[in-house]
Symmetry: D2
Subunit: 350 residues, 4 copies
Amino acid sequence: MMEKRVKMIKAGIVGGTGYTGVELLRLLAGHPQVELAVITSRAEAGTPVADVFPHLRGHVDLTFTVPDRAALAACDVVFFATPNGTAMGMARELLSAGARVIDLAADFRLKDAAGWQDWYGMPHACPELLAEAVYGLPEVNRAAISEARLVANPGCYPTAVQLGFLPLVEAGVVDAQHLIADAKSGVSGAGRKAEMHILYAEAADSFKAYGVPGHRHLPEIRQGLSAAAGAPVGLTFVPHLTPMVRGIHATLYATLKDTAADLQVLYEQRYTNEPFVDVLPAKSHPETRSVKGANTCRVAVHRPQGGDTVVVLSVIDNLVKGAAGQAVQNMNIMFGFEETAGLQGIALLP
Amino acid sequence: MMEKRVKMIKAGIVGGTGYTGVELLRLLAGHPQVELAVITSRAEAGTPVADVFPHLRGHVDLTFTVPDRAALAACDVVFFATPNGTAMGMARELLSAGARVIDLAADFRLKDAAGWQDWYGMPHACPELLAEAVYGLPEVNRAAISEARLVANPGCYPTAVQLGFLPLVEAGVVDAQHLIADAKSGVSGAGRKAEMHILYAEAADSFKAYGVPGHRHLPEIRQGLSAAAGAPVGLTFVPHLTPMVRGIHATLYATLKDTAADLQVLYEQRYTNEPFVDVLPAKSHPETRSVKGANTCRVAVHRPQGGDTVVVLSVIDNLVKGAAGQAVQNMNIMFGFEETAGLQGIALLP
Amino acid sequence: MMEKRVKMIKAGIVGGTGYTGVELLRLLAGHPQVELAVITSRAEAGTPVADVFPHLRGHVDLTFTVPDRAALAACDVVFFATPNGTAMGMARELLSAGARVIDLAADFRLKDAAGWQDWYGMPHACPELLAEAVYGLPEVNRAAISEARLVANPGCYPTAVQLGFLPLVEAGVVDAQHLIADAKSGVSGAGRKAEMHILYAEAADSFKAYGVPGHRHLPEIRQGLSAAAGAPVGLTFVPHLTPMVRGIHATLYATLKDTAADLQVLYEQRYTNEPFVDVLPAKSHPETRSVKGANTCRVAVHRPQGGDTVVVLSVIDNLVKGAAGQAVQNMNIMFGFEETAGLQGIALLP
Amino acid sequence: MMEKRVKMIKAGIVGGTGYTGVELLRLLAGHPQVELAVITSRAEAGTPVADVFPHLRGHVDLTFTVPDRAALAACDVVFFATPNGTAMGMARELLSAGARVIDLAADFRLKDAAGWQDWYGMPHACPELLAEAVYGLPEVNRAAISEARLVANPGCYPTAVQLGFLPLVEAGVVDAQHLIADAKSGVSGAGRKAEMHILYAEAADSFKAYGVPGHRHLPEIRQGLSAAAGAPVGLTFVPHLTPMVRGIHATLYATLKDTAADLQVLYEQRYTNEPFVDVLPAKSHPETRSVKGANTCRVAVHRPQGGDTVVVLSVIDNLVKGAAGQAVQNMNIMFGFEETAGLQGIALLP
């Protein structure tokens, strides 16, 4: 009798001490088909992962190492959970060695190298890979992801905003020149770094907008929605810092060109086969906590007072569907695993 | 030599156990020209105020009493910090007795009694007073307030949204048919009542919109902005619940008709003489904590990427400029006091 | 060839709308050997569970029903996630029908019916079951639990405090007449009920003790520690309300009789075979978030400045190891499952 | 006719960008007898204070300057709101110039220079001033403070713990060899500096102890209580980090030697003339928010179950009575002002 063989792959993580890195560890430690082989951190090299992150005691036995190209090249997949600019310095070599690469930072998200340099303030180190890199939003690019060697994992805001706007923009029912995305993020979205403005005593019990003149996620969202619309869109994007740890709530506004469209049906049909997008019943108000720790985006669509303004509410966990969870989803697609493998955890509520 | 006499008035508060009531107590206890004479609460009658609110120990010696019309009528001013529907049952009598009335609830905010009934679900008890009642937004109605017997203190969202939109709408530089107000409130805005959705374990570490199909503050804002525009405006208003105690942040969007207007100058000129509206320098992002406990509205105006969408950021403390502080400001105007008397406290930060 | 059969059981939950009920749902929905058969709620009967708790959409298909004794009696195990006093009214009948019962409330925690009545303010409905009921702290009563029909799941504070004190008290190295347990709980410990003191605006950004004159968990802890000591212990227990959703941190103090004891070794040996008690290295300070969502108790033992006072730090998630997780652990033991089945989720951090 | 002259003094602040510095600014800006003359910050020199702290817009017109000894020496009083080790480098010179000095850091808190070096890790720069420096706890040293040139403002934990223990220790009714202080602080107590462990996403929704092996406030508390007891006391001090911005809650434990003592009366008599210590009625549980922004310490004393363990609950705002407020109180005493001048603000609740 044939024994069913479960395919196993080796995974490496570059930059394992940030929030997306540690969330990757949580998810991959519970993934049935992944062996965690390497995790790097220059700052913590030599320290067991579980000493830095005690919640992983008993679950992760690895020790942080300095980045070693040979060890990483021996992995089937390498995740970059690093600051912008790191993955583009190592991707070519890893790809040549046969590893696949998923970058959770922004290095491969924009197709336009000049635009990338404008927004990120440094020249791009390997613009020739930008064309090959697949933007890892499975709800748009599933087929391409399944063939990809190099995946650019979307930003957290771009995931919430695009999933919220896509049905409207693809269907062409709104004025795509005046899209508004008012987005609110928990503080973990700013990363795990010692900066003043994200101190507890600075960010707690207060609320503010930031980056109104221009935020790096703007061109990324614009690129994705323009592709969906088949023409350049006009977008105003205002991010806000919210006193919570995890979660993004995007409140989206657009003016309907076609007020006869049944928006609820439009959304339900668009996402009917998506395992990680949940269209809520009409009149719903999703809470960010309903996706805390889960790889789900919950969406609700409203037309207040029956007017010509449509309001979409879209929530994700910025560290899961907005980062590490989506990266694992992309990995699952790339390696032919069940797309939901390792991602079936239920949100923690309350 | 003549002694300078400080005019003193007697104040009563109906409904002193909610958050706006207790905030009135804090402000009036420190007001140099007010003697707190009466504070009523059916539930707490007979209990010293400081037993219910220990932070007032040593500052407020009053005891809660059942509402007594004679005692209230003997006051110079009576504040209603009650649920909607209470003030309209007692206002006529108090006014006849010579007291002035400031209602912190919604009873006298809408000019249209039928509209009021639609939104508040009960017939109005004294529609004949609606015409007389002055909407207590000093930045619009200062002169009328100074003559008023009956002031309808604005709602918290309406204060933040109107102060943010007024310069644009008055100047006619935006499309007033598609105004968008995305507003975020701390949980104290929901009042001090035992309801499930505002429990700590329900509201903490999460973010959500509510009331998207229609919120009672919508007609109030629409009425105020329509008056400012000289014609009915179109407004989409989406309130959100934020995991903080105090504060409202309104993010406002409008499409410019006149892209040559200098918006920074427009705002600074509009509010140049206003003691409680602070126009921040260009490119600023006000935080709600910068007004915590203070009667100030801080406003910043942006035009992202120089496009035709204007973004206004407006923050207040919902319990101060959005309720009790504004009520004291109105009282000061009504009685000819310095408008800033009792309202000079600095925000508590951090 | 023999097929390996996984034993499956049917579980019912009485009272599924509180925090311990919804946490049971999360854990049981992911348990490989449990079929959720019944979930009752008088208030929500007829409503799908996922309508009340949207985070369970796609994971739990059940609908709340009114409690039906026949349906419950057909279950292999019935969990009571109800207020105190409910389980004792139904336990006899369910046990007679062959179901096993795990009560997450306090009905069967105290052996002394008179004491129970004193602390809980009502006569006990079935004192004859008190002797049979097994106190479900696996680290003390594993063997008895495996044989039990009726398990009294420990309280949250008692779990954290007993696991922290047990090694000291069992070994007889401290003065058991002057034990001090200073415990801090997240607000979810107060339950999901509309009460004023646990409103967000009351509990956020503040800290207080409560129940200093006497808390119901005091006799429960005293009973457990007295059994461990072999003689009545003296305990001062002070609970505090902490502005966080989940988590208990117990800081425990005792005076050493034997200052030569190696406390680190004592703790490590006591818990060496326990899957859910993690003794941290010397000098550690466990954080409650390191167990958020996990069934783990992390413990650290200190002897400040080498003096005769021992300080133990013990953290759990009040809804998991302090309630629903421990109930599942007890179920696993009762039915001969792997003790860790369904309980291997990693804590959510940050 | 004689005009009443209000005596005015000039105040300088060294290190105005930390939380104690900005709180001093808030309090001194509202003080009727203080002119803010100088505020220094190397990092922000040249920047208006209100640009760094927008809540002070309209209240503070000063600009940060580099520390200039002449400008500071021209002040009547200089506050050091600096890291440990700064004040001791400048105090001698300022005192010689005739200024009085209030150090909010630890430089002059311990009488023993060798002990200071052990705990603070650097030699003391002017040990000869330690004898002259007066420990600024007005409830103990009011007379000496009124004569002092140099005041060591107490630490936040030491203020809460000493005010809680003093009546017991002075009266000699407890075993002073086994005092336990379990203290919980809001995150602002850690200061305004970019450190990882006090990030929002690290400190929110979690609770932990720290410094159990030994915290710098231990010798300070021990020194004060030993003086009160007339003999060295034994103290176990465990600080905890609490997810709130402001507030300290000290829960104190001691064993009664004299169980006949009326503790409520003892506390009320001890503090009967103290303007800033409020002894609550028996059975009270003070909340930290009841003193948020106020210079008050609220204390409650309990004897659970009538046993021989006394439990004291003591709350302060760490930035006010635990730092800047107490410094202003000391200044008032030193300059013969009303002790409550500038300190009559009511706590902000909710």
